[in-house]
C-alpha cells in the first residue's frame, strides 16, 4: 500500500467552497426551475460539509446538530418547493425559469 500524507481539514473546506460555487453556478446558468432548485440543495450540502468539518476541528458535536437541522429544513423546503413547482407548472405550463418572470398571469 502506498502511504500518502494525511489530508488537512482545509481541503474539506475548499471542497465545500467549490461545491458551493458550483451550486451557485447551477443557479445562475441553469434554466429549468427544478435544476435551479437542485442547485440550492447542492449549496446546502456544501454548507453541511463545512459544518461537519468544523465540528471535527473543534471536537464538538454542535456542527452535526446544525447540519441535521439543515437537512430537516431542506426536506421541508423540498416538499413545499416541489409542490410550488407543480402548481406553477399547472398554471403556466412551463418550467423555464426565464419565462416565470411576472407575479401575475
Amino acid at each position: 500500500m502506498l502511504h500518502l500524507p494525511p489530508v488537512p481539514l482545509s481541503w474539506y473546506l475548499i471542497l465545500s467552497a467549490i461545491l458551493f460555487t458550483l451550486g451557485v453556478a447551477g443557479f445562475l446558468y441553469r434554466k429549468s426551475v427544478i435544476t435551479v432548485f437542485m442547485s440550492i440543495e447542492l449549496m446546502l450540502n456544501a454548507v453541511n460539509l463545512s459544518f461537519v468539518s468544523f465540528s471535527y476541528e473543534l471536537r464538538r458535536i454542535d456542527g452535526h446538530i446544525y447540519s441535521f437541522f439543515v437537512m430537516v429544513v431542506a426536506a421541508a423546503e423540498a416538499a413545499v418547493g416541489l409542490a410550488i413547482i407543480l402548481t406553477v407548472f399547472r398554471n403556466r405550463g412551463t418550467l423555464q425559469i426565464d419565462e416565470i418572470d411576472s407575479m401575475k398571469l
Partner: protein, 615 residues
C-alpha cells in the same frame, strides 16, 4: 377584603351578556344581568359590615399599572365612609333599577345589549367610586361616559337618539378636556395621583404660594364636573339624553353618573378647601344652574324633560352645597336625590309604559285610578323633592340651605325661592298626569310587579331616607359645622309648601288660570319654553364658526392645498420618478436577482473576511 370583587361581578355580567347574550334566553339574560348586580350589592353589604366603624380609609394595592419616571400609578382601590355611601347608592339603587328594567324593557329589541351595557355602566361607576387615584377614577369617569353614550343611543335606528348620544359625548369631551388638564397639573405639582398622597402634601404646602396653582387645578377639575354633572354652561346634553330608555335616565342621568362630579369634588375636597375662589365659583355656578334649570322646568311639557331639568336643578343644589364647604350636606342631598329622583323617573317610566310610550303631559291626566301604585309612590317622590317636612328631601335640602344661610344670606334666599319653583313644577307635572280628565287615546294600565316593586322600595327610601344621618356618618371626613338654623328650615319649607299650593290652585282647582297666565307672560314664556335659546346660541356661537373654520381653512387650505397637493402627491411624484429608474433592476428574472445576491455576498465576505475584524 378583596375590594376588587365588587366591580368584578358586573364586569362578568357584562362579558357574559355581551358575548353570549344573543344566544341566551331572556330569563338567562335577566339572571345574569340582575344577578351580577345583586351579588355585588350583597358583597358590598358584607364588606361594609365587616369593616363597620370604618374610621379610617382602607386601601388595597393590586398591581402597578403605570410606572413612568417619577410617576407611579397603581391599580389601587380604597373604601372609606364616603365611598361606602356611594357604593350602597350605586349597587342598591342600581339593583332596584335593574329589576325595574327587566319589566320595562321586556318588549324592546336588543334586550341583552341593554343589560350588558347596564352592567358595564355599574362596573365603571364602581371603579370610579372605589379608585384611590385620579387616573383610575378617570378610567371609571370615561367608562361611565361611554356607557351613557351607548345607552342614550340605544335606539340607534332613531335619528334623534343618535344625535342626542353624540351631543352627550361631545359636550362631555369639553368637560373631560378640562378634567385631564387638571390631572396633568396635579401630576406636575404633586408628582403623584394618589388621593392620600396629594392630601398629605397639600397639608404641608405653603398656602399663599400654592393658591394660584390649586385654584387652577380645582377650576379645571370643576370644568370636568360641569360636563359630567350637567352644570352651566355644559348642561345642554342632559335634557337630550332623555332619548335613552327610562331606566337609563333613572340610573345614569339622575341617580348615579351625573352625581359623579359632586362625588369627585367631595373626594378632592382637600384641594378645594385651599382654593376659596374656586369654591366660590362652584357655589355660584351651582346656584345659577339651580335657578336657571328650575325656570325651564316650569314650562316643559314632556314629563321626562321636566324631571331632567329638575335633575340639573338639584345637581346645582349639590354643587351649591359642596361649593360653600358643606360637603356632607352635598353628599346627603346626593343620596336622597338618588332615591327620589330615581323614583320620579321610574314612576314616569311606569306612566309612559302604561300609556304605551306617551310622554307628553298634555295627553295625560286622571291616571290616579288606573295606576294607583304609581300614583302614590310618585306622590311621595314629589313631596320628597319639594322638601315637604318629614320627607327625605326636606332634610338634605335644609342642610344645604342652612349652610348657605351661614355662608351668604343671598344664596339662601335664591335657593329657597328655587325650592319653591321646584315644588311648583314637580307638582304641576304630577297634577297634569294624575288629576283632571284623561286627554289621551291610550288604554292606561298599571305596570307589572317587577316595575312596581322597585317603586315601592324606592318610595320607602325617598320618604324616610332623610333620617339616615349622612352628615354625622361623614363627620370623620368632613367636620360637622353647627349651622342648624330653625328660621331657615321654616322659610325653605314654607317656600316648598307655597309652591305645592300654587300648583294645586293652578292645575287642580282652576286650570283656566294657568292658561291665562301663560298668555299674559307672552314673550317671556316663549323664551323659557325654548330653554332660553341656549342650544341655538351654542349652535350660532360655537358650532357654526367651528364648522366654517374647518371647511375653509383646515379642509381647503391645509388639507387640500398643503397635505394633499404638495406632501402626498409631491412625495408620490418623487417616488414614482425614482421607481421608474429602479424598475429596470426589477426585471422578474430570478437569475439576475441571484447574480445580484452573489455580488452582494461577495462584497460582504470581502469586507468582513479580509478587511474587517473577522480574522
Amino acid at each position: 377584603m378583596n375590594f376588587w370583587l365588587i366591580p368584578l361581578f358586573p364586569l362578568i355580567g357584562f362579558l357574559l351578556n355581551g358575548l353570549f347574550g344573543k344566544r341566551l334566553s331572556k330569563s338567562a339574560v335577566n339572571v345574569i344581568g340582575i344577578g351580577s348586580i345583586a351579588v355585588s350589592f350583597v358583597y358590598v353589604v358584607i364588606v361594609l359590615s365587616r369593616l363597620y366603624p370604618l374610621d379610617a380609609a382602607r386601601s388595597e394595592h393590586y398591581f402597578t399599572w403605570i410606572q413612568s419616571g417619577f410617576l407611579q400609578v397603581g391599580f389601587d382601590l380604597t373604601v372609606d365612609r364616603l365611598t361606602a355611601v356611594m357604593l350602597l347608592i350605586v349597587t342598591g339603587v342600581g339593583l332596584l333599577i335593574h329589576i325595574y328594567a327587566a319589566g320595562y324593557m321586556e318588549h324592546e329589541g336588543g334586550y341583552y345589549r341593554f343589560f350588558s351595557y347596564f352592567n358595564l355602566f355599574v362596573f365603571f361607576m364602581l371603579l370610579l367610586v372605589l379608585a384611590s387615584n385620579l387616573l383610575l377614577m378617570f378610567v371609571g369617569w370615561e367608562g361611565v361616559g361611554l356607557c351613557s353614550y351607548l345607552l342614550v343611543g340605544f335606539y340607534f335606528t332613531e335619528d334623534f337618539a343618535g344625535k342626542a348620544a353624540n351631543k352627550a359625548f361631545i359636550v362631555n369631551r369639553i368637560g373631560d378636556f378640562g378634567f385631564s388638564l387638571g390631572i396633568f397639573l396635579i401630576v406636575v405639582t404633586f408628582k403623584t395621583l394618589d388621593f392620600g398622597k396629594i392630601a398629605a402634601s397639600v397639608a404641608t404646602m405653603p398656602v399663599e404660594a400654592a393658591a394660584g396653582t390649586l385654584t387652577a387645578i380645582t377650576l379645571l377639575l370643576f370644568v370636568g364636573a360641569t360636563g359630567k354633572s350637567a352644570q352651566l354652561p355644559l348642561y345642554v346634553w342632559l335634557p337630550d339624553a332623555m332619548a335613552a330608555p327610562t331606566p337609563v335616565s333613572a340610573l345614569i342621568h339622575a341617580a348615579t353618573m351625573v352625581t359623579a362630579g359632586v362625588y369627585m369634588i367631595a373626594r378632592v375636597s382637600f384641594l378645594y378647601s385651599h382654593a376659596p375662589l374656586a369654591m366660590q365659583v362652584v357655589a355660584v355656578i351651582g346656584l345659577a344652574t339651580a335657578v336657571f334649570a328650575a325656570t325651564i322646568g316650569i314650562t316643559q311639557n314632556d314629563i321626562k324633560r321636566v324631571f331632567a331639568y329638575s335633575t340639573v336643578s338639584q345637581l346645582g343644589y349639590m354643587f351649591l352645597g359642596v361649593g360653600i364647604g358643606a360637603y356632607s350636606a352635598g353628599i346627603f342631598h346626593l343620596m336622597t336625590h338618588a332615591f327620589f329622583k330615581a323614583l320620579l323617573f321610574l314612576g314616569a317610566g311606569s306612566v309612559i309604559h302604561g300609556l304605551g310610550g306617551e310622554q307628553d303631559l298634555r295627553h295625560m291626566g286622571g291616571l290616579r285610578k288606573a295606576m294607583p301604585i304609581t300614583f302614590i309612590t310618585l306622590g311621595i317622590a314629589s313631596l320628597a323633592i319639594s322638601g315637604f317636612p318629614g320627607f327625605s328631601g326636606f332634610y338634605s335640602k335644609d342642610a344645604i340651605l342652612s349652610a348657605a344661610y351661614t355662608h351668604a344670606p343671598w344664596m339662601f334666599w335664591v335657593g329657597a325661592f328655587t325650592a319653591g319653583m321646584t315644588a311648583f313644577y314637580v307638582f304641576r307635572a304630577y297634577f297634569l298626569a294624575f288629576f283632571g280628565t284623561y286627554r289621551g287615546h291610550q288604554h292606561a294600565h298599571e305596570s307589572p310587579l317587577s316595575m312596581t316593586l322597585p317603586l315601592i322600595v324606592l318610595a320607602i327610601l325617598a320618604a324616610f331616607g332623610g333620617f339616615l344621618n349622612v352628615p354625622a356618618w361623614l363627620s370623620p371626613l368632613f367636620p360637622l359645622a353647627e349651622h342648624e338654623n330653625a328660621t331657615a328650615m321654616v322659610i325653605s319649607a314654607a317656600f316648598g309648601i307655597g309652591g305645592i299650593v300654587l300648583a294645586v290652585v293652578l292645575y287642580v282647582v282652576r286650570p283656566s288660570l294657568a292658561e291665562s297666565l301663560k298668555t299674559r307672560a307672552g314673550s317671556f314664556y316663549t323664551l323659557v319654553l325654548n330653554k332660553y335659546y341656549v342650544d341655538e346660541f351654542y349652535s350660532a356661537a360655537v358650532v357654526k364658526p367651528l364648522e366654517s373654520l374647518s371647511r375653509v381653512v383646515l379642509w381647503k387650505g391645509v388639507d387640500k392645498a398643503v397635505i394633499d397637493t404638495s406632501l402626498v402627491n409631491g412625495s408620490g411624484r418623487v417616488v414614482r420618478g425614482w421607481g421608474a429608474l429602479l424598475r429596470q433592476l426589477q426585471s422578474g428574472s430570478i437569475r439576475n436577482y441571484a447574480t445580484w445576491v452573489l455580488a452582494g455576498s461577495l462584497l460582504v465576505i470581502f469586507v468582513l473576511g479580509l478587511v474587517g475584524d473577522a480574522r
